[in-house]
């Protein structure tokens, strides 16, 4: 005989099905709430700012007259600073991850480093701004420059890149490494030719996350001393600069309606920039994934 009688089973079955439907509906509601918020936000911004987004907005510098104000300085500043931060975080993050995963002995010291990297990822970003101000701006005398801003943001996102790269490296099966060693590859050759190519898509994902975070950061750059009114394009790593979120913040806090429109337009530019960078990284990642999975 079955463990439950026929009638009892039917009754329970109906209840189990109802439970399933309720859970399904709850999940759907959760998704819809998220989508609705996003939709409202986008609608709000697009209706305010879309009319202001045009070529002259992108190529103009800030101005006292809201209808003439443009975003060029902030856009270029953001691109330079984030590109610098991304490149630095990628280089040092992958380097650190390789060291921790492939070279460091598995002892208490490595464990402490590991825990601290996870902790660093949770430190409020403004703390990095103070650090950047002390070390890069003052001690290394880089001034309130693109260089100092890029370095500060690189520090900020470094833990994200390290953690993602470590996970990607750890996910490469050890049989692949052993296969390389068995053919006489040195440790470095096994890492370079076997581990990194396979870990690369995962590393790129980490860099995407890191760059997306960096491009929206405001607080550390304000602390560090980025400008709020920049009527010139940054012309090199030592140039002073501003970035999109700071410019947007500045416009939002002005009383005139025209600046609020400029702020909305600035947000649209920031979103487009973010999406473009992410799309680029996703395309790159897929290309590499295809190559390694064949």
């Amino acid at each position: 005989m079955a463990i439950i009688s026929q009638g009892e089973f039917r009754r329970r079955m109906n209840r189990r099905k109802v439970e399933g439907h309720i859970f399904h509906a709850l999940c759907l509601v959760a998704v819809l709430i998220g989508l609705a918020m996003l939709g409202a936000l986008l609608f709000n911004i697009l209706s305010d700012g879309l009319t202001r987004v045009n070529w002259s907005f992108i190529t103009s510098f800030p101005s006292r007259h809201p209808e003439q104000a443009g975003i060029q300085a902030a856009l270029l500043g953001s691109i330079y600073v984030v590109a610098l931060a991304g490149a630095l975080a990628f280089t040092f993050g992958v380097g650190a991850a390789i060291y921790l995963e492939e070279y460091a002995a598995r002892n208490w010291f490595a464990k402490i480093i590991q825990i601290n990297i996870s902790n660093l990822a949770g430190v409020p970003s403004i703390v990095y701004g103070i650090l950047g101000l002390e070390i890069f701006v003052r001690y290394l005398a880089l001034g309130k420059s693109v260089m100092a801003g890029g370095l500060t943001l690189a520090l900020l996102v470094l833990p994200i890149v390290i953690i993602a790269a470590e996970e990607a490296i750890r996910a490469v099966p050890s049989s692949i490494r052993e296969g390389g060693y068995a053919l006489g590859a040195t440790r470095w050759q096994a890492i370079w030719h076997l581990v990194l190519p396979q870990a690369f898509p995962g590393i790129l994902t980490g860099v995407i996350l890191a760059v997306s975070r960096a491009i929206g950061e405001t607080a550390p750059l304000i602390v560090m001393g980025a400008l709020t009114f920049v009527p010139f394009a940054p012309d090199g790593p030592m140039s002073r600069f501003t970035v999109l979120p700071i410019q947007i913040f500045n416009w939002v806090s002005r009383p005139q309606e025209g600046f609020h429109e400029a702020a909305a337009a600035g947000i649209i530019v920031l979103l487009v920039l973010l999406l473009t960078m992410n799309a680029l990284a996703v395309i790159l990642r897929n290309k590499f994934q295809r190559r390694t999975e064949g």
Binding site: S175, G179, Y181, L183, G184, P197, G294
Partner: protein
């Protein structure tokens, strides 16, 4: 067995993982251009012993060894010996086929490339794949991913990859355990063929396989808790027909292990 100079010999080899001794006092000589099989129950340290021969165990932090492994008379574990150089001369094929996620060509070319081979690479690759009896199946798709091959083809590709650096010895750790009977026969045939030029040491679970392909057989089994000893080592025919030790006889007749 003393007529020819052995290619690999072990002297009083003891192996530990952390505090646990897993192999105790193995002393054996392996002849060149012969197939030596290592058999024994699961967990008896066959893989561990095999991996001592190309210092693959170095990658395990808790691994420790006393005694000697001599390759051509040179102690592999003497200070100043570079394991990379050892592995260049002593190749290895693993239990699970482990092709790199690269093209078929690049898999075979990997060894020559990392070792700085400057000659005719396509020629070497073709020759190695031919020797592994895989050429006809892959000659038109060398640029395709190695992962698109069947399991048996992948294992032969791994053999080709090992052959491409022209090692003197090939170590095989249960190379057929993930394969069907037809691929297994193909690889056994291949091993017989290869033993003209190479010395082969193979670990196998499969008694018939040891009897079919090998010239010499070593039987390992745990004594007491975990520590394994070399119970008997000799010509395969003798081991399988007139074993000297009753434990060997019990194992090969399937009464134990």
């Amino acid at each position: 067995m003393a007529a020819v100079e052995p290619i690999i010999r072990t002297r009083d080899l003891n192996v530990y993982y952390g505090p646990t001794m897993v192999i105790n006092g193995v002393t054996m000589d392996m002849e060149p251009n012969r197939i030596t099989a290592i058999i024994g129950p699961s967990g008896s340290g066959k893989s561990t012993l095999l991996r001592c021969f190309n210092r693959m165990n170095d990658l395990i932090p808790t691994f420790r060894l006393t005694g000697e492994v001599l390759f051509d008379g040179q102690n592999l574990y003497a200070s100043g010996v570079d394991p990379t150089e050892i592995r260049y001369q002593i190749g290895m094929v693993f239990q699970r086929p482990n092709p790199f996620p690269k093209s078929i060509f690049d898999n075979v070319a990997f060894g020559p490339r990392v070792n700085g081979f400057k000659g005719d690479l396509p020629g070497l690759v073709e020759q190695s794949i031919r020797r592994a009896a895989l050429w006809d199946e892959v000659k038109d798709r060398l640029k395709e991913s190695a992962l698109s091959l069947s399991g048996g083809q992948q294992q032969r590709l791994c053999i080709a990859r090992a052959l491409a650096v022209e090692p003197r010895v090939i170590l095989m750790d249960e190379p057929c355990s993930a394969l069907d009977p037809i691929s297994t026969l193909a690889i056994e045939e291949l091993m017989r063929e290869l033993s003209r030029q190479y010395s082969i040491v193979i670990v196998t679970h499969n008694m018939q396989q040891a009897a079919r392909v090998s010239d010499f057989t070593a039987f390992l089994t745990p004594q007491g808790d975990k520590t394994s000893e070399l119970i008997e080592y000799g010509e395969t025919r003798q081991i399988f027909t007139t074993p000297k030790d009753e434990r060997t006889e019990a194992y090969i007749t399937g009464r134990f292990g």
